[in-house]
């Protein structure tokens, strides 16, 4: 009931959820039930592409929660996304079983190649889905909590905090590039076969992953909306606008920050876990600082502190990326940079700001 109440007045969010519901039902039907010859048919390629966009949208919601409402410009949220992705990737590797190139029933191919005698301790348990799913949430959450607890307790804010989040994801990238880490080095984890016993390549599986992504986005959005419309959400905005004042009226600023930051990292982890089975690979490139910066741009384009703007921004920029990289593959980063400059200059409140402007006018 209170979740529904949290949506009151959030027109953008209601529209977004309605569209999401429609798309979440229509796309799988058009893909599975409509024959391939029909103009209404949606190809499996498109379903997977849309599913990928939805996981990006969830990631953008996670970033908007901490940037828009808490004032923490995290330039390292890609790290939490990638960690969630690796947890899922490890499960998918174990599902390969003896169908790898080397046919080893327990060891993934890269371990056989490196002459490892047995599975490292941290790979145990990942043959079970529930365990991997739990880790996809817990690992980013625990890392975010430890990082947040230390940073916020020392009252690191603003640019300095952004820089250390950037350093965090960069350090993880370097670590995951190393073969000794046991996560497949620079090749990462790939050549997945099955998820939950069904083939990853099957059309039905792709549709199922798409539905799961839509569902995760809807639930993540509702949970985030609940938080920002609760008193804790008002405390977050108070921290963003006047941190020391918030302390003087008796709130433990560092704890509120750590809690919301952790929740956001968990959302990012879920997004990563849904992303990996759809794109079929996870490698250290996902930790690249560039990725984290790119997703901040999605939120800026969509409009900060609206949540639904983050969803719109993520979908639009990524659609643009898909189209643009098809035409001029090398020019994408220039286009992205140009977009960021234009939005900052002419649309400081993003696409969401444009909507409210039109409603007011």
């Amino acid at each position: 009931m209170r979740i529904v109440k949290a949506l009151r007045g959030d027109t953008g969010g209601q529209v977004m959820l309605a569209v999401l519901l429609a798309v979440g039902i229509l796309v799988p039907i058009l893909s599975l039930a409509v024959p391939a010859a029909s103009p209404w048919h949606v190809s499996t390629y498109t379903v997977t592409l849309l599913g990928k966009y939805l996981t990006y949208a969830l990631l953008a919601v996670a970033v908007d929660l901490v940037w828009g409402y808490l004032g923490i410009l995290s330039l390292g949220h890609g790290a939490f996304f990638a960690l969630g992705g690796y947890a899922m990737g490890m499960y998918l590797m174990r599902q390969v079983g003896d169908r790898g190139v080397y046919g080893n029933p327990t060891l993934p191919d890269f371990m056989v190649f490196l002459n490892w005698p047995e599975l490292p301790w941290f790979w145990h348990g990942f043959d079970r889905f529930w365990f991997a799913a739990l880790m996809a949430i817990l690992v980013p959450g625990v890392l975010a909590y430890c990082f947040g607890y230390l940073a916020f307790r020392s009252r690191v804010t603003g640019v300095y905090l952004s820089i250390i989040t950037q350093a965090l994801t960069y350090a993880l990238m370097l670590a995951f590039f190393r073969n000794e880490m046991g996560f497949g080095g620079n090749n990462g984890l790939t050549d997945f076969k099955d998820i939950l016993g069904v083939s990853l390549q099957a059309d039905g599986t792709r549709a199922g992953l798409f539905i799961a992504s839509a569902l995760a986005l809807a639930l993540g959005y509702l949970a985030s909306r609940y938080i920002v419309s609760s008193r804790l959400g008002r405390v977050a905005v108070a921290i963003r606008d006047a941190e020391s004042r918030t302390r003087f009226i008796g709130y433990r600023v560092e704890r509120a920050k750590a809690a919301i930051f952790t929740f956001s990292a968990m959302l990012a982890g879920v997004a990563g876990a849904l992303y990996v089975p759809q794109v079929g690979i996870i490698n250290p490139g996902e930790f690249s600082p560039l990725n984290s910066i790119e997703l901040v741009i999605w939120v800026a384009v969509g409009g900060r502190a609206t949540l639904y703007g983050a969803v719109a921004g993520a979908l639009l920029v990524n659609y643009g990326k898909t189209v643009f990289t098809g035409i001029f593959p090398d020019a994408w980063l220039f286009a992205l940079g140009g977009l960021f400059v234009l939005v900052t200059l002419f649309l400081p409140r993003g696409i969401a700001g444009l909507m409210t402007l039109r409603r007011a006018g």
Partner: protein, 269 residues
């Protein structure tokens, strides 16, 4: 000692910090021999200063006399090099951080009005309200009927009933100052520290602020730091004059005004 109260609090789980307050000697705030240096400059120099329960005290002094630093020390923003600061006889404020000091019952209004501009006036009051301010309870908090009544009551005291639904950022300068005093009242503090409440106010606004502060006397102890001598004269019973980080004189407005040392450093200008 305050530290022990903190440490042994688990033996007494029902009691909050505010409930362990001991004011049997009728003195609410003890500041004793406090010295604060910034890069060799002594902002406070062996300052001793006491506030009684329920009194309204004005603190005046020239720029750099240490008025704001004194408030920083009491609210936990600055830790002194030497000295004691006690709230009642039992709570050692130097061992607590800002949120705990606020929860113990000390509210502070800053020199520059700081309200949460994006939030509506009632939301500002709601956030400031005394209560459980930990993360989980805050996430699931709902306003009870009593709490709504309390907010209405404070809205009436500060005269912002009509503006309850407006964003605080849209208020005039004077209204923001009152809202901030209202936020202090929502915290239900025993001690209010009010830094330059009438800076930049019109004459009318000043009068209303004076009435507001006078109405708080008795229920709360109020320490007002102010530059405007007319305003101080209109509310003060006891005045403390600070100069160079120490108390220069203390007494009624008349006594202080005719003290030759005070005239020399401050009023004579």
């Amino acid at each position: 000692m305050g530290g022990q109260v903190e440490r042994w609090q688990y033996l007494n789980p029902g009691k909050t910090l505010a409930e362990t307050l001991d004011i049997s000697h009728q003195t609410l705030l003890y500041v004793e021999g406090v010295t604060v240096s910034f890069d060799g400059f002594r902002a406070l120099n062996d300052l001793s200063f006491y506030v009684d329960v329920g009194e309204l005290r004005c603190v005046i002094g020239p720029n750099g006399a240490g008025k704001t630093t004194m408030m920083d020390v009491v609210t936990g923003k600055t830790k002194p090099d030497r000295g004691f600061v006690f709230f009642g006889q039992s709570i050692n404020l130097l061992e607590l951080d800002e949120p705990r000091i606020a929860q113990a019952g000390i509210g502070r209004k800053f020199q520059k009005p700081t309200v949460f501009e994006q939030h509506r006036v009632i939301e500002n009051l709601e956030l400031a309200m005394a209560g459980d301010k930990r993360v989980w309870p805050t996430l699931f908090a709902r306003l009870s009927g009593e709490e709504r009544d309390r907010i209405d009551e404070v809205l009436t005291i500060i005269g912002l009933n009509e503006h309850a639904g407006r964003p605080a950022g849209a208020l005039s300068h004077g209204q923001k100052q009152w809202l901030e005093i209202g936020m202090l009242l929502m915290q239900d503090p025993l001690l209010l520290l009010v830094d330059e409440p009438v800076a930049g106010m019109t004459h009318q606004e000043m009068e209303r602020t004076a009435q507001l502060l006078l109405s708080l006397e008795g229920k709360h102890s109020v320490v007002v730091v102010e530059h405007d001598m007319d305003f101080v004269r209109s509310i003060a019973k006891r005045v403390t004059v600070l100069n160079q980080g120490a108390v220069l004189a203390e007494g009624s407005m008349d006594e202080v005004q005719h003290d030759p040392r005070v005239v020399e450093v401050y009023l004579g200008e």
